[in-house]
């Protein structure tokens, strides 16, 4: 409807506040009398704790309390639960070791919190931490993902007997093995999907306060929707009534999947606030964030594909080791199958799939969901297999894909996931057109004249968006004419205030300036609140708002009919006004009337407010897909890879606000390019130390790493949700990495280099060239 409704590039409502320094992030919260928390963390990746002596530290100036695992265990604080569940083919469940909020008996990664110090100032806390004597007995550590399942690998959990916490498979391996034996051609590849550090720009932070009068504790912390976190802390860790805890997330400086975890520090901030008389504040610096936020990716994979004589896929095999870190975070152990496995095959018709995941422990920071959570990994694998397939058959990358694209929908993947819609060949053609594929050779020649090798690469992706199948949204009419949306979702950069306002404008004719988004407070968010991750907010929250709006209109018609003395069935609603015969009455008037029992039809109760708990059919997700086309120049003398042209065509279904969807796609692309080009998480394989724990060593993508990116849509509305929307946030993280790697390998075609693992750092590329020159190509 009109210029503020669906499909318009409305400028964001949030921006004026954020642009003028009026954002309010957790670190901006300062409570009267607050004291400061500092966490002493393990310098060892693996060590036995023989003794901890806090005597001197407790006597230090300004120190209020020091807690270790002995204190929390004595107080009945339970380990942090992992709700993920999965079993091997033989029914062996995922091994779930206990994770205490403070290291108990052993430390298992460098950075694990060992003691919590509460002091009058941050500096007093740090000073005291230096006086804590800990007798560590260092143990052999393991960090190297490809070695985790080896028989001689040091053990992270002795009782498990190996580091394999779960071996999950889709089916018996033999089924696909037989197909591979009789296939016309097969290709095989080993690769590492590099570990990433999410690094939202707002570092970790929390403020907590206990009110002895009410017996309630409030936790302020950034999140992606904190309901699940605070419930877990109440019910499963502290064993207190959920209503005694409240979590408030204010402006949150980026999430990317890593924010809504039941982090040890959050548990401790809540628990300790209940022991203390003054509010607590903790703010991590970036170095601490590097070792305390969950990390993403980190998989070692052997994948292969079998083709018939026409280059059509017969079967795909994928064996992956997932490095889950030292403890299980929420979904770290299952995202490879639940996030990635479900869409394995991605855009291609795969008749038989063998997918095996070994979720393995290591002496590293736990891993969990990060932008795409399993989907970027399988997209990368499938795209590499298609590329190798094209080479094996001597056909173009385009032809190979076209021979294998899924063309009929819905398409059931080998894991039973129903891909609802898409136009894969059309999207590919559109990409080639918009990206001037035809003009590539000319540009390549021009690059050559400058001493640069130019290559072009495709990354076609399909991802499954939507996450958990429930969400609740509430619409409330205020006396002053404002309309408040109480959201179960949580905007932390995605512009929900703007997009939800567009929806209310579309469905209820409410002026965007009158809409107010209320989110992130466990006291006021709807009961069914889940949060924002996995590109689900439009699909889940948006649909809930639409349906709540419809209920409001239906109810409103009855009230309006009563007010206008018209039969409700003859009342119509358009652009915020109810019409009946020659009369009309605005929604605002109806909403006000609904609060006055004397103005309501008999038997009807006000107010007009509606809450809608949306439960999606089964586990059906939506399937954003698209094609990313990159041209890159490689400097053969230094190995530097530079992106010189980037075209992205995405099918995000119905686009509610192109400005915001563009932003989501671009943000995903930047993280995808980060993974492929600069983000190098390096552990010392012998000591387990994280060596890249600052922006000095961990490469964050910068403005100068990108050209202007051409973003276009080939929208095929999803038939499985009311709005026809599909996710947009993970697109770039799925499409960009294979496109970049393919562009670089294409540029290096003359050397016959088969594969280079991400990130494509200059030295790695240079070494690949040197090896190729000396006949030792990878």
């Amino acid at each position: 409807m009109g210029q503020y409704g669906i499909g318009q590039p409305i400028r964001r409502k949030e921006d004026a506040r954020l642009l003028t320094g009026n954002g309010r992030y957790t670190d901006d919260v300062n409570l009267d009398g607050q004291v400061y928390v500092y966490f002493l963390r393990s310098p060892y990746a693996h060590a036995k704790i023989n003794a901890i002596d806090t005597t001197d530290a407790l006597a230090a100036p300004g120190v209020i309390a020091i807690y270790t695992s002995a204190d929390i265990i004595a107080d009945g604080v339970k380990p942090i639960p992992c709700e993920a569940n999965a079993k091997s083919l033989k029914g062996v469940p995922l091994f779930k070791p206990p994770r205490h909020a403070l290291a108990f008996e052993r430390v298992r990664y460098a950075g694990e919190p060992v003691a919590m110090i509460i002091a009058e100032s941050v500096n007093a806390g740090k000073d005291a931490s230096e006086l804590i004597q800990i007798d560590y007995e260092e143990l052999p550590a393991i960090a190297d993902t490809s070695r985790l399942a080896d028989a001689d690998a040091p053990l992270v959990w002795d009782t498990l007997g190996s580091n394999v916490g779960l071996h999950w498979e889709t089916q018996e391996s033999a089924v696909s093995e037989a197909i591979f034996k009789s296939a016309h051609k097969t290709v095989e590849l080993k690769l590492l999907n590099n570990r990433l550090v999410g690094n939202p720009m707002e570092p970790r932070c929390a403020v907590s306060e206990h009110d002895p009068k009410t017996g309630r504790t409030t936790l302020y912390a950034p999140s992606q929707g904190g309901r699940r976190v605070i419930n877990a802390i109440a019910k499963e860790i502290l064993n207190v009534p959920p209503q005694s805890l409240r979590m408030i997330s204010l402006d949150t400086g980026g999430g990317f999947g890593i924010r809504s975890k039941t982090y040890p520090e959050l548990v401790l901030m809540v628990w300790a606030a209940r022991k203390q008389t003054r509010p607590l504040k903790w703010r991590a610096d970036r170095g601490e964030t590097f070792v305390s936020d969950v990390h993403g990716r980190d998989q070692s994979t052997k994948a292969s594909a079998a083709f018939d004589k026409d280059g059509k896929l017969l079967a795909v095999r994928n064996e992956t080791i997932v490095n889950v870190g030292a403890y299980l975070s929420e979904n770290g152990a299952i995202l490879a199958m639940m996030g990635g496995g479900k869409i394995m095959g991605t855009a291609y018709d795969v008749p038989v799939l063998y997918f095996s995941v070994k979720s393995c422990f290591s002496n590293t920071v736990p891993t969990d969901t990060y932008r795409g959570a399993g989907r970027p990994e399988v997209n990368f694998i499938m795209e590499r297999l298609m590329e190798l397939g094209a080479q094996a058959f001597g056909i173009s990358s385009i032809e190979m894909r076209k021979r294998n694209f899924i063309r009929e929908f819905p398409y059931k993947t080998q894991m039973g996931c129903l891909i609802d819609s898409g136009d894969f060949p059309g999207t590919l053609d559109m990409t080639l057109d918009k990206g001037d594929y035809a003009g590539f050779e000319k540009r390549k020649a021009e690059s050559k004249a400058r001493g640069k090798l130019r290559g072009i690469g495709i990354g076609y992706y399909v991802e499954g968006a939507g996450g958990r199948p429930v969400e609740e949204m509430r619409v409330r009419f205020e006396k002053d004419g404002k309309v408040k949306i109480f959201a179960g979702t949580f905007s932390h950069g995605q512009g929900h205030d703007t997009v939800y306002s567009q929806l209310l404008n579309e469905y209820l004719g409410v002026d965007a300036s009158k809409v107010e988004l209320i989110q992130g407070d466990s006291d006021t968010s709807p009961k069914g609140a889940v949060g924002t991750f996995g590109s689900r907010s439009s699909m889940m929250g948006g649909v809930a708002i639409k349906r709540a709006s419809e209920a409001i209109v239906e109810k409103g018609k009855k009230i309006a009919g009563h007010l206008m003395q018209t039969e409700p069935s003859k009342v119509t609603f358009k652009e915020g006004v109810f019409h009946g015969g020659t009369s009309s009455v605005t929604l605002e008037v109806v909403a006000r009337a609904a609060q006055d029992p004397s103005k309501l039809p008999e038997g009807m109760e006000g107010p007009l407010d509606e809450s809608y708990y949306y439960e999606r059919q089964g586990e059906s997700q939506n399937f954003p897909n698209g094609c990313h086309l990159i041209e890159a120049e490689v400097d053969p003398d230094t190995g530097t890879v530079e992106i010189v042209k980037f075209t992205a065509i995405d099918d995000c279904g119905t686009v509610l606000n192109p400005l915001i969807v563009d932003g989501q796609v671009l943000g995903g692309i930047a993280q995808g390019i980060g993974q492929a080009l600069v983000e190098n998480t390096i552990f010392d394989n012998e000591t387990g130390q994280l060596l890249t724990a600052s922006f000095m060593d961990y490469g964050m993508p910068r403005a100068s790493d990108f050209p202007m990116i051409g973003i276009h849509f080939n929208s095929v509305p999803s038939p499985t949700n009311d709005l026809g929307v599909k996710g947009a946030g993970e697109a770039g993280a799925c499409g960009a990495p294979p496109a970049l790697v393919h562009a670089a390998l294409d540029a290096l075609k003359e050397y016959g280099i088969r594969h280079i693992d991400m990130p494509l750092t200059p030295e790695k590329v240079w070494r690949a060239i040197q090896a190729a020159k000396s006949g030792k190509a990878a």
């Binding site: 964001r12 004026a16 642009l19 901006d28 500096n123 720009m201 970036r286 932003g663 943000g667 202007m708």
Partner: protein, 165 residues
Amino acid sequence: MAKISMTVNGKTVSGDVEPRTLLVQFIREHLGMTGTHVGCDTSQCGACNVHYNGEAVKSCTILAVQADGSDVVTIEGLAKPDGTLHPMQAAFREYHGLQCGYCTPGMVMVAVDIARRLPCADEATVREELYGNICRCTGYQGIVEAVMAGSEAMQTGVLPLKDHH
């Protein structure tokens, strides 16, 4: 403790600080102006950028005592008192140059600095000049467009509008 005094957003402010207090801590904790953010420890991310004697600097890498007697402008000092956005702020909104908003204050302060020094900077120059500011959300495209458009608006008084597909 050291007594310091400086001008912040046109107003004279003073305080007693420990020598180890950083300028950003003075601004956030002593003055209670929380628009300036801290995003890293190593002077890389630029979230803490302010104008110091008219130039963009990282306020996390200056001691408050060093800034004694200086003239500081923070993100809170850019818009007009009536709320009218500075042309660069308006450009960031127009070109979707922000998502979560955390890096934004520093990004805008640096953008204004770039526009003043290099009013006609081309895209490549703008990208290079943004090297000291990290954004994790936007992929920088909206930021780069905003810096160029905001720069033009600072000169002409007219913000070129985004042409959206």
